[in-house]
């Protein structure tokens, strides 16, 4: 094999080696490997009526809403639903019909849990709750804020 042929082989090997090794070397905080979590947010209004009614879009939390402490109400309506890809330490606004909320991914724990900070304000901008919780992917968090007219305002989230 001539010198030039060896050179071509070496160039090919080098380029492939670089291409193959680079993704493996990229760490969690590498610019190309952004840490994100996909989270869903359900804003729910709850009240008591003559007949039980749960929106079909709430199927994922329906079973939970039929049990205490939610059995205070029997009618649940989805006010808003959003899916967000949360970047680490970047506050993301969650659009709500009533009030506002932000979600921040603090970190991913053990590859299967998310540590999220949720801040909720009411429709007058008054802070209702700020909470940081570590939750397994697939599990749910539900914030409940009872209203004066015996209605409830719920915000539920889960990540995967």
């Amino acid at each position: 094999m001539t010198g030039r042929r060896w050179l071509a082989v070496a160039a090919g090997v080098l380029s492939i080696a670089i291409a193959g090794v680079r993704p493996a070397a990229a760490g969690p905080n590498d610019a190309r490997g952004e840490v994100t979590a996909s989270c869903e947010f359900f804003e729910i209004s709850a009240k008591t009526g003559d007949k039980p009614a749960i929106d079909g879009e709430l199927k994922r939390v329906e079973k939970k809403l039929k049990k205490p402490p939610f059995s205070t109400w029997n009618q649940f309506k989805l006010l808003s639903h959003s899916q967000k890809s949360l970047a680490k330490k970047k506050a993301e606004v969650i659009g709500l019909k009533i009030g506002s909320a932000t979600a921040t991914l603090v970190e991913i724990v053990d590859k299967s849990k998310v540590r999220l900070t949720i801040a909720i304000d009411d429709d007058k901008g008054k802070q209702v709750a700020t909470n940081t919780t570590t939750v397994d992917a697939g599990d749910f968090m539900i914030y409940v804020h009872p209203l004066a007219n015996n209605e409830g305002h719920l915000l539920s989230w889960t990540c995967n």
């Binding site: 030039r4 042929r5 050179l7 071509a8 082989v9 090919g12 492939i16 080696a17 291409a19 193959g20 090794v21 493996a24 990229a26 969690p28 190309r32 490997g33 952004e34 840490v35 994100t36 979590a37 996909s38 079973k63 939970k64 402490p69 709500l96 009533i98 009030g99 991913i108 590859k111 299967s112 849990k113 998310v114 900070t117 304000d121 009411d122 429709d123 007058k124 008054k126 802070q127 209702v128 709750a129 700020t130 909470n131 940081t132 570590t134 939750v135 397994d136 992917a137 697939g138 599990d139 749910f140 968090m141 539900i142 914030y143 409940v144 804020h145 009872p146 209203l147 004066a148 915000l155």
Partner: protein, 178 residues
Amino acid sequence: MSAKSDLELMEHADGELDDADVAARIERDPEARAKVDAVKQIGELVRGHLELSADAVHDARFAAMWRRVDDQLVAPATGLWSRISGWIDRYRGHVITGAVSAGAVAALALVLRPSAPDIGVRTRGGGPIQVREVALRATPEIDSLDTPGGSSTVINLDDEDGHTTVIWVTPEDTVEGI
């Protein structure tokens, strides 16, 4: 004069016979001398003709070779693509060798590379966080909770779908919603 004498004269003229009697005869016999001279002239003529023929053969061969070279000569490449294709033509063997080697290394890299990036680290188009079996999941852990202007109650619910943590915020003035 006999045929043998003529033969001796021809041999003498060609330098093949060095005989004193023949030489003496040529000296004293003008006819013999004329024959020898004639033979020498004919020999020179023949040699000259042969040499010319040989030269003509070489010229013909060279002409044929040059024609073949001319036929195979291509106009010099001027465009970028022509240069690239010309380069590839010249180094086709090298290019093929390099490509085959790169393919082999790529196959090795695919086989030997780490199985997957860390789950939960979503690269562009990457996979989601690992969702474990319900039995393996831990109860959600509240790191901090602040409910200004109200009180809170934390309730953990477990079912076959996993854990659900409820944070029930009761405002002191139960007038406003979230």
